[in-house]
């Protein structure tokens, strides 16, 4: 299979793919985008603060404002002046008129929002928020926290309950998570695994699409420009397809290693240059990456990308031009997207049945297993089984794609239907 001729094709593919603006831009930009994305997320968590907000808190009956004022006075953002609060008392009709009157202010952001505390809030603990940005979760959490404290205090007032008991009732409960794994000690878990699983899934997803589309275009171009006929006078269709798949897969692997390199570099450099909170996060992420996971991610990537690239190559051979091929791409898109969303969702519970089954099923395992491994300890037999499944799927897909490629690469014109695709896959050599 790998003779001098196929190697010549692989070399040409590598040159065409890597010495190319798209490759350089995508490869360099992707980690930068990622890094800046994570920095923004990190900064937002560190600087999870209200930014210059003027809030009006309206209550229906004067029962809670005095208490609330006291509670809110302890708020850092109020103290720093980032949040200013205006306390009013109005009935519902007046409130409606007031909201109407404040519309311009809210739209221009001079009023971040109006909180309304109805009388029944005393028993129902339900308040209202009027704003041009009603999803301002930070602001909502600040004010509702304060209102909650004030309501609790109000409720227990005069019942002879000690102040510290009231303070206890006012507080929330924080959960510290610890990861229990087979070999290592129990270690504190703070979202590192989730980040790793997200990064791995996302990079895999991006890489499958970028490289798959590249190969698809390359195959249809060779087909429409008839270069393929000259190539086929030197190599057979299966060799040509495999060489193109291997060339593109190597490009994908190089790209993936480049994408991973900032993470590896981060794990090597001192984290002191980063602000404490971010350095802390980064080191937790690093703690979730181990050699076994890295090795699996790379082996899985190679098998996964070869599986999908074979599908893309067959797809390119089926159609006469780029546009038609892209319209016929949806089955492959589904095979990438659905497992991708499963991989994203299993961070909620990596040992759910969905996670376990989809991490071992053909095709979906490519996306889900690495994510699951990053999130929790996967039994060794499951990893081994999945590897075997992946190898079998790769061999099967290469065979079927090779058949379609061989039948279709020199043919044109006929409309592609599932029945015909089946016919091409089962055609005799």
């Amino acid at each position: 299979m790998f003779n001098a001729r196929t190697i010549a094709i692989i070399k040409r593919e590598l040159k065409a793919l890597m010495l190319n603006k798209t490759f350089i831009v995508m490869t360099v930009l992707m980690p930068l985008l990622f890094m800046s994305g994570f920095l923004v997320i990190g900064l937002m968590q560190v600087l999870n603060v209200v930014d210059k907000a003027h809030v009006v808190i309206v209550e229906e009956e004067p029962f809670v404002n005095d208490l609330l004022r006291e509670v809110m006075r302890e708020n850092e953002e109020v103290q720093s002046g980032a949040m200013t609060i205006d306390y009013r008392t109005m009935d519902r009709a007046q409130l409606e008129a007031f909201v109407e009157q404040s519309r311009a202010g809210m739209l221009q952001d001079s009023i971040a929002g109006v909180f309304y505390i109805p009388a029944k809030a005393r028993s129902k603990k339900r308040i209202e928020f009027y704003s041009a940005n009603p999803n301002n979760l930070v602001l909502i959490s600040r004010v509702s926290e304060g209102v909650n404290k004030a309501l609790i205090e109000l409720r227990f007032e005069g019942r002879g309950i000690a102040e510290e008991d009231v303070a206890f009732a006012q507080g929330g409960t924080k959960t510290d998570s610890y990861k229990v794994s087979a070999g290592a000690d129990v270690s504190e878990e703070d979202g590192g695994g989730v980040i790793v699983s997200f990064v791995v899934s996302f990079l895999l997803y991006i890489s499958l699409f970028i490289n798959g589309m590249q190969l698809l275009r390359s195959v249809t171009q060779e087909k429409t420009s008839r270069i393929v006929e000259v190539l086929l006078s030197s190599v057979n269709p299966r060799e040509l397809m495999t060489a193109k798949v291997v060339g593109t897969a190597i490009t994908g692997l190089v790209q993936m290693l480049i994408w991973f390199s900032p993470i590896l570099m981060l794990s090597m450099i001192q984290l002191t240059v980063l602000p404490d909170d971010i350095a802390d996060k980064v080191s937790r992420v690093m703690a979730s990456i181990n050699l076994g996971l890295m090795a699996y991610v790379i082996v899985n990537f190679l098998m996964g990308i070869m599986t999908f690239l074979s599908m893309f190559a067959a797809l390119g051979a089926m159609f006469d031009n780029d546009q038609d091929a892209q319209q016929g791409m949806w089955p492959i898109v589904m095979l990438i997207m659905v497992p991708f969303f499963i991989a994203m969702s299993i961070s909620m519970n990596p040992s759910s049945e969905l996670a376990v089954i989809s991490s071992m099923l053909p095709i979906s395992s490519i996306m889900v297993m690495p994510a699951r491994m990053a999130l929790s300890d996967v039994p060794f037999w499951q990893v081994g089984l999945t590897l075997l499944v992946n190898v079998a799927v790769l061999i099967g897909i290469l065979r079927l794609a090779g058949k379609i490629y061989r039948v279709r690469i020199l043919s044109s014109g006929s409309k592609v239907t599932l029945k015909k695709v089946w016919g091409w896959m089962t055609a005799e050599a």
Partner: protein
């Protein structure tokens, strides 16, 4: 032993039989023409020879042995519909196609430079293919076909889409390859070229080989009762004359097939008696085009315009 032999090739696409039991032999050192109208089955035959299509039946023999790897690396192939990687440079393209045939190194590079200079492309080595004119791209494609110095050169419609200057460049290259002892196999629907260049031919019509062998033998066989006449005046009175079997008007000339060889003298006499000014009277000659019309019968006539003008769709 023949250099290459095609035996009983057959290929069916769905219900259409594109090539039906085609056989021919190609001796060493000849220019071989695979002739026929568009859609006759020439390209399918060539693709089976090149192992691009698997034949439903039949085989290709290289010097008596079933053709395989060895033939593959010893043949240069120029398909009818040509294409090159537009983003590659001229030199990279040439080196890539040579490497595909297992040839690389400084010797190949030197030869590539030589060919490029011969084709006036010496200063375009580093140009991308996309920046070259169509004619120059075709030259590069032709060089890529022969750079690895193959023993066999297979050209599918090599003259289609070429302007007169490039046509003569390619024609000279083909003749030069022949002088160097290569076997050249080309398909064409242009009978005129085949007539002047080929030593041996195979004429394919509707997937079947109608004629096959050395062109001189075929000419002799068809030409001994044939006369090509160029004359002033209307020759239509000859139709129905007992000595005339068939008559074809080719515009400038008229091809006349007489019933017996002795009738040729009688024909000249009839022309003179009827006051026809005879400009040319070639006995025993026949063009490939006339042969084609004769063997393919009425079917061929409908394709005459196509054959004469060389238009190719």
């Amino acid at each position: 032993m023949h250099a290459l032999e095609v035996r009983n090739l057959r290929k069916q696409f769905g219900s259409v039989t594109a090539v039906d039991d085609v056989s021919f032999e190609i001796p060493e050192g000849v220019i071989f023409g695979l002739l026929g109208r568009n859609g006759a089955g020439k390209t399918t035959t060539i693709r089976m020879m090149m192992d691009i299509y698997k034949p439903d039946a039949g085989e290709v023999l290289l010097r008596g042995v079933k053709a395989g790897e060895e033939f593959n690396s010893n043949v240069g192939y120029l398909p009818e519909e040509r294409g090159l990687y537009q983003k590659m440079t001229v030199m990279d393209t040439l080196l890539f196609f040579a490497e595909l045939k297992g040839k690389k190194g400084p010797e190949i590079k030197r030869r590539a430079v030589e060919y490029l200079e011969q084709f006036d492309l010496g200063d375009r080595m580093k140009s991308k293919l996309a920046d070259l004119s169509k004619g120059n791209q075709q030259k590069v494609q032709f060089i890529s076909t022969i750079l690895h110095d193959p023993e066999f050169v297979v050209l599918d419609e090599p003259f289609s889409g070429l302007d007169p200057v490039n046509t003569s460049i390619i024609r000279d290259m083909i003749l030069d390859l022949k002088r160097r002892g290569k076997v050249i196999i080309f398909s064409t629907h242009l009978m005129d070229f085949a007539d002047r260049m080929c030593d041996n031919i195979c004429l394919i019509h509707k997937g079947q080989a109608l004629l096959n062998g050395p062109l001189s033998d075929i000419r002799r066989k068809f030409g001994n009762r044939n006369v090509t006449v160029q004359a002033e005046g209307d020759l239509s009175f000859l139709r129905g004359n007992p000595i005339v079997e068939t008559m074809e008007d080719f515009g400038n000339t008229t091809g006349i097939l007489v019933k017996q060889q002795d009738d040729i003298q009688t024909l000249l006499k009839v022309l003179v008696e009827n006051n026809i000014v005879v400009r040319r009277f070639d006995a025993h000659t026949i063009s490939l085009h006339e042969i084609f019309v004769r063997v393919a019968g009425d079917d061929a006539k409908s394709g005459e315009a196509n054959m004469m003008e060389g238009s190719h769709v």
